[in-house]
């Protein structure tokens, strides 16, 4: 039995790992085709990320929202839903935390948590809209959540313009100091990189993700509904309620991500001319992470390192950073097409098996 578990865990780990390597190789080929030296490029990428404390800190800053949106997508996926709306949920989380952060004057011990909770609830409700439409009207959540992304974007700009942005400015007033969750001493250690409590909250959220899905009654229902709604209905579970619940919880993760981005990184909200992109990257993060909380953290780290390091690649090796998108896209491709990856690792597995016998 142990052997069975070992084989499965190995493969579930091996496939994304090999997919990542294949993705990097594909990127390297693209670089060679463009006349760049891939080794220099990847070295530059790693140097950028790990080269100094500031950039390392900023990489962590880059990773944090990806964990949140990755969890948001993965959670819904576990319940059989495809949450494309993490972007919108992220944005309404930003709005709510800005509103609370700017409008109230409270002791820090209350203010910051309140602003984060506001972001969580806002993101959750935004997700629940898509969940409700699915449950009550049978509207595909993919469509509604995509549309809600745009609604959120323009809604955010309207709210900011109408209430929070002084005339002639592009950014809202700063949130009150009491709502800010930047970790001063840590930021100082990292040479003023924008480090904040959100990273810790992201890790806690991943643990929460695990506990709620695999340890609680609610999680049992959510997973059951995700895997087989018919059997769940037969077993007396309320399928529709669970759909709404799953989208709410998923949205909460994204909403907290948006809130910590405001409270920890920017301290104000700017007019957005485009989506933040974190929600969409979250889909890929969830996919590469196999929709498990630990996998999401690892995938977010990968994503964060690649995207943040990309500018180093361009800076020191002259490789246009669009190429890192080629790498990321290839990784996603190889994870999705795990059949191809399995073909590559088959000889390895076989050898291992023979060796084991």
């Amino acid at each position: 039995m142990n052997r069975v578990i070992a084989v499965f865990t190995k493969e579930s780990f091996l496939v994304p790992a090999v997919a990542i390597i294949l993705g990097l190789l594909t990127g390297a080929i693209a670089m060679l085709a463009g006349g760049f030296n891939p080794i220099d490029a990847y070295t530059a990428l790693l140097k950028k990320v790990f080269g100094n404390a500031y950039n390392f800190g900023e990489t962590i800053r880059q990773i944090t929202p990806l964990i949140f949106t990755g969890l948001a997508v993965a959670f819904a996926f576990r319940t059989g839903l495809f949450n494309i709306g993490a972007e919108g949920q992220f944005i309404v989380g930003m709005i709510a935390s800005t509103v609370v952060g700017v409008s109230f004057d409270l002791p820090a011990i209350i203010h910051a948590p309140l602003a984060i909770i506001a972001g969580a609830v806002a993101g959750g409700l935004w997700g629940a809209i898509a969940g409700y439409l699915k449950a009550a009207r049978g509207v595909n959540e993919v469509i509604t959540s995509i549309m809600l992304n745009w609604v959120a974007l323009y809604f955010a700009n309207w709210v900011m313009n109408a209430f929070f942005i002084p005339a002639g400015k592009q950014t809202s007033e700063e949130v009150k100091d009491s709502a800010i969750i930047t970790i001063g001493w840590l930021a100082e250690m990292f040479d003023n990189a924008r480090l904040h409590w959100g990273t810790l909250i992201a890790v806690l959220a991943a643990i929460f993700f695990y506990i709620i899905l695999w340890k609680t009654k609610s999680g049992f229902e959510l997973r059951s509904v995700g895997l087989n709604p018919h059997a769940s209905e037969y077993a007396g579970m309320n399928v529709n309620r669970n759909v709404v619940k799953a989208m709410f919880i998923g949205g909460m993760f994204a909403g907290i991500g948006g809130a910590t981005e405001i409270l920890g990184v920017f301290h104000y909200q700017a007019i957005m001319t485009q989506h933040t992109g974190y929600g969409f990257d979250g889909i890929a993060v969830a996919l590469i992470g196999g929709n498990t909380p630990f996998g999401v953290i690892l995938a977010a780290i990968l994503f964060g390192v690649l995207t943040f390091g990309a500018s180093g690649m361009q800076f020191s090796a002259g490789v246009p950073f669009e190429l890192i998108r080629v790498v990321i896209a290839s990784v996603i491709f190889f994870v999705a097409a795990h059949g191809i990856v399995k073909m590559f690792i088959k000889p390895i597995l076989k050898k291992k098996k023979e060796g084991g016998n």
Binding site: M1, R3, V4, V7, K215, T216, K217, S218, G219, F220, R223, S224, L227, N228, H230, A231, S232, E233, Y234, A235, G236, M237, N238
Partner: protein
């Protein structure tokens, strides 16, 4: 037999999967023009063996000879080239394509770059006439019956030049009439020089069509005999490993209070017309009430209304005198009703959940398993281990996903779960569908045990034998209403058959509308 050329010989085939030896040095030998049955319970290793022959799996040990030559079958393509074709249990057809398109798919006659559909149609028609496989080459798959689709599968293998045809449980999806036609087709194929390997666990079919039979039990060959030298009892004993009783032994029922009362129930079917019309019936403690009827006369809808999965438009359902009409499935379940659903994959199990989780699918929220919103996996696992032991569910572990179990063991697990709820009323819908003899016997025994413990049992089955054997009383359903209730001891297939087809017969104690 010895004079006949061996077309397939598999020698000492062994195939191991993690935790299980699916095939343990199996030897199989099939002569030309033979219909050779591969008999065994679910999970005995028949399908694995045939998948090896078809190139889907590689054996760990052993060799294969086709037409007396050693071959390496590393892919279905090679199997094809060797003249081996497989008719799968679950058809692999493109629903929106025509019969011809499906048959030539991947092997299309070309006219330049275009598919030459006309010559393809001609080829299909020719094959169809040669082997007596009647199909309309231009019909779309989605528009033709299941039996017809199976013929398309057979034609597909023939079109690719197969001489050795493997049929995987071909009758599981067919109506009696279609089964009859299939047997005819098999005879035709053999007459035209083909060889057939038939995977089955149905003894009747083997006796009807096969020349020889190889019996497999738990991955090993038990025996290989000629059909003319054997009989169903003998085969069953070899398959299951002990004597099998086809007749269900049971004592006289001692019915007591009415547990379930259904009064003038009406409900809509999926097509928007009434599937139930003023249906009334009663089930009492200590009896099994069987419902007989031709499929599609409201059986499924009746059960769905009783269990809360479908809304009644009028009428009442009383459980122990308490009204449960249109309550939620959970309320009904908690009021003392257990339900073995007719589709165990769709309703009965979450296939990707572990066995342990499946065993508490309806009871996970009970205080025994759930404290303050958190599940007590210790208690859940203990519960599962107990049931699996008690009901002899063969699973590598309680953490194995339900998907990995054979159909019989899945069904045993469901019955274990439902019986363990200690219900007043147990509804069993098609409880033995697709199961082998051993599992059927086990399940029948359990249902009677429930009756003897004073539970009310409502049995719904499309197998008339089963209804007659198990029930104490039989209610016949026709067009959404009970057309008569008869005593199981004194009725006959003929009488039931007449009622099932709509001919009304009044019989003692019937409380039809």
């Amino acid at each position: 037999m010895n004079s006949v050329k061996k077309v397939v010989e598999m020698r000492g085939i062994t195939k191991r999967f993690p935790g299980i030896i699916a095939n343990d040095s199996i030897t199989l030998s099939v002569g030309k023009g033979e219909i050779h049955a591969l008999l065994g319970e679910n999970g005995a290793g028949k399908s694995t063996l045939m998948n090896i022959l078809f190139g889907l799996y590689q054996p760990d040990e052993g060799e294969i000879l086709i037409n007396e030559k050693v071959v390496q079958i590393t892919s279905p393509k090679i199997a094809n080239d060797l003249g081996i074709g497989m008719v799968h249990q679950h058809f692999m057809l493109v629903e929106t394509f025509t019969v011809t398109e499906n048959i030539v798919l991947g092997n299309e006659p070309k006219n330049g770059l275009k598919i030459d559909i006309q010559s393809a149609e001609k080829a299909v028609e020719k094959l169809s006439n040669q082997y007596g496989l009647k199909v309309d080459p231009r019909a779309k798959i989605q528009d033709i019956s299941v039996g017809m689709q199976q013929r398309v599968e057979i034609l597909k293998t023939l079109y690719r030049g197969a001489d050795i045809l493997i049929f995987d449980e071909p009758t599981a999806v067919l109506t009696p009439q279609e089964i009859h036609e299939l047997i005819e087709i098999m005879h035709n194929l053999v007459k035209e020089g083909k060889t057939i390997i038939l995977i089955t666990h149905k003894l009747k079919e083997i006796m009807a069509v096969c020349d020889a039979v190889t019996i497999i039990r738990r991955g090993k060959v038990i025996d290989s005999v000629l059909v003319k030298d054997t009989n169903p009892d003998d085969l069953a004993a070899k398959m299951v490993g002990r004597e099998v009783n086809f007749r269900v032994d049971k004592t006289e029922a001692k019915p007591k209070d009415t547990i379930l009362a259904v009064e003038k129930l009406t409900a809509m079917g999926n097509r928007g017309v009434n599937a139930l019309n003023n249906l009334s019936l009663e089930v009492r403690a200590g009896e099994i009430l069987g419902i007989a009827g031709v499929d599609g006369n409201g059986q499924s809808e009746l059960i769905e209304v009783l269990t809360g999965l479908r809304k009644a438009t009028s009428g009442r359902v009383l459980l122990n005198g308490k009204e449960i009409t249109n309550q939620s499935p959970r309320n009904i379940s908690e009021s003392g009703l257990s339900h073995i659903p007719e589709d165990r994959h769709k309703r009965g199990l979450v296939l990707d959940f572990t066995m342990s989780e499946n065993m508490v699918l309806e009871t996970y929220f009970h205080p025994t398993f759930c404290k303050g919103g958190f599940l007590d996996y210790g208690a859940i696992d203990k519960h599962a281990a107990k049931l699996i032991e008690e009901f002899d569910v063969r699973t590598p572990s309680i953490y194995t996903p339900a998907r990995a179990l054979s159909g019989g063991n899945q069904q045993k697990a469901i019955i274990a779960r439902e019986v363990d709820k200690n219900p007043d009323l147990l509804i069993a819908a098609q409880p033995t569908r697709g199961l082998d003899v051993g599992a059927i016997e086990f399940i029948h025994r359990r249902l009677i045990d429930q009756r003897d413990q004073g539970k009310a049992v409502l049995l719904l089955s499309l197998e008339l034998d089963e209804v007659i054997n198990l029930s104490d009383r039989i209610a016949v359903i026709y067009e959404g209403a009970i057309v008569g209730i008869v005593d199981a001891k004194s009725t006959s297939e003929q009488e039931l058959g007449l009622m099932m087809s709509g001919g009304k017969v009044m019989q003692g104690g019937g409380n039809d509308e």
